[in-house]
């Protein structure tokens, strides 16, 4: 049980910490709709 917990915690710390309020950039395509979508 100790090993499992340690791995879980380590894995947690490896993740890149995201700043609070991080918003991923919009996908590059498709672009914005200028009139309406059919």
């Amino acid at each position: 049980p100790v090993t499992k917990r340690a791995v879980a915690e380590a894995a947690q710390h490896d993740k890149v910490p995201r700043p609070v309020g991080f918003v991923p950039p919009p996908p590059p395509c498709p672009g914005k709709i200028r009139h309406f979508d059919i």
């Binding site: 590059p28 395509c29 498709p30 672009g31 914005k32 709709i33 200028r34 009139h35 309406f36 979508d37 059919i38």
Partner: protein, 248 residues
């Protein structure tokens, strides 16, 4: 360390929008029928570098039909996009462009257009008139009646039909046929045409004068025909390519 490859171009990046504008102007400039199209969405963009200051750009564009006939001198920016309930027509285009020393030009384009589905329109607007096929009998009859009516009353040149742009038929609450068609001025006055209409030919290219008519025939409850035609005046270099002579 080698420089990181440039981030892929986004569909809303200024460079993509500049390329799309060149593409849409090219498409409208090389189309001879129907209406002008406006950009609705850049679906995809792909850049293939060819060397210094030399890129090939592949664009996938979503266009929407405007109310401006293709022969109209109205700038595209002033052309209203046909609304969803007016039975919109969408164009899908794949365009290959080259950006050489900062100048963008079209190498090839392929488009096809299709009207929105009748079901979609009916869902949103059950009583909205729907597009009919251009060889629908009621559409053909209404175009003929409208053009004859206009020619019988005009003091200007006798007009000949170039092409039917669209026809819509509504059945509720009244039976109405609405048509739009392109016309060309002939070398006859309306009076001369009454004598010998066979002699009335479209004006030669250096004097051509194209226009556009909108006609509405109310069939029920009582028959009533309204038509309005506007001529654009001579536009140097603007020619009408009769269907069938067109190049893809």
């Amino acid at each position: 360390a080698p420089a990181a490859p440039p981030a892929p171009l986004g569909c809303d990046d200024p460079e993509s929008e500049a390329a799309a504008e060149v593409a849409v102007n090219y498409i409208n400039g090389h189309s001879h029928h129907g209406y002008k199209f406006a950009l609705n969405r850049i679906e995809d963009v792909r850049v293939v570098p060819q060397g210094p200051n030399n890129d090939i750009i592949f664009l996938e564009l979503d266009l929407l039909e405007t109310k401006c006939p293709i022969l109209s001198p109205t700038p595209l920016a002033n052309c209203t996009v046909r609304s969803f309930t007016e039975h919109a027509v969408e164009g899908d285009c794949d365009v290959k462009l080259q950006k050489l020393d900062g100048k963008i030009s079209v190498l090839a384009s392929k488009c096809h257009s299709h009207a929105d589905s009748s079901e979609d329109i009916s869902k949103v607007c059950p009583d909205c008139p729907q597009l009919a096929s251009l060889n629908n009998t009621e559409v053909l009859e209404t175009v003929s009646a409208a053009l004859n009516d206009f020619n019988s009353k005009t003091t200007g040149p006798y007009l000949r039909l170039l092409e039917i742009g669209r026809g819509k038929i509504q059945y509720h609450p009244a039976h109405v046929v609405a048509v739009e068609f392109a016309v060309g001025a002939t070398n006859c006055s309306a009076e001369e045409a009454k004598v010998n209409v066979g002699a009335c030919q479209l004006l030669p290219e250096d004097q051509s004068n194209f226009g556009f008519c909108i006609g509405t025939m109310v069939k029920l409850p009582t028959q009533n025909l309204e038509v309005d035609c506007q001529l654009y005046g001579h536009q140097p270099g603007v020619t009408y390519v009769h269907a069938g002579q067109d190049t893809s």
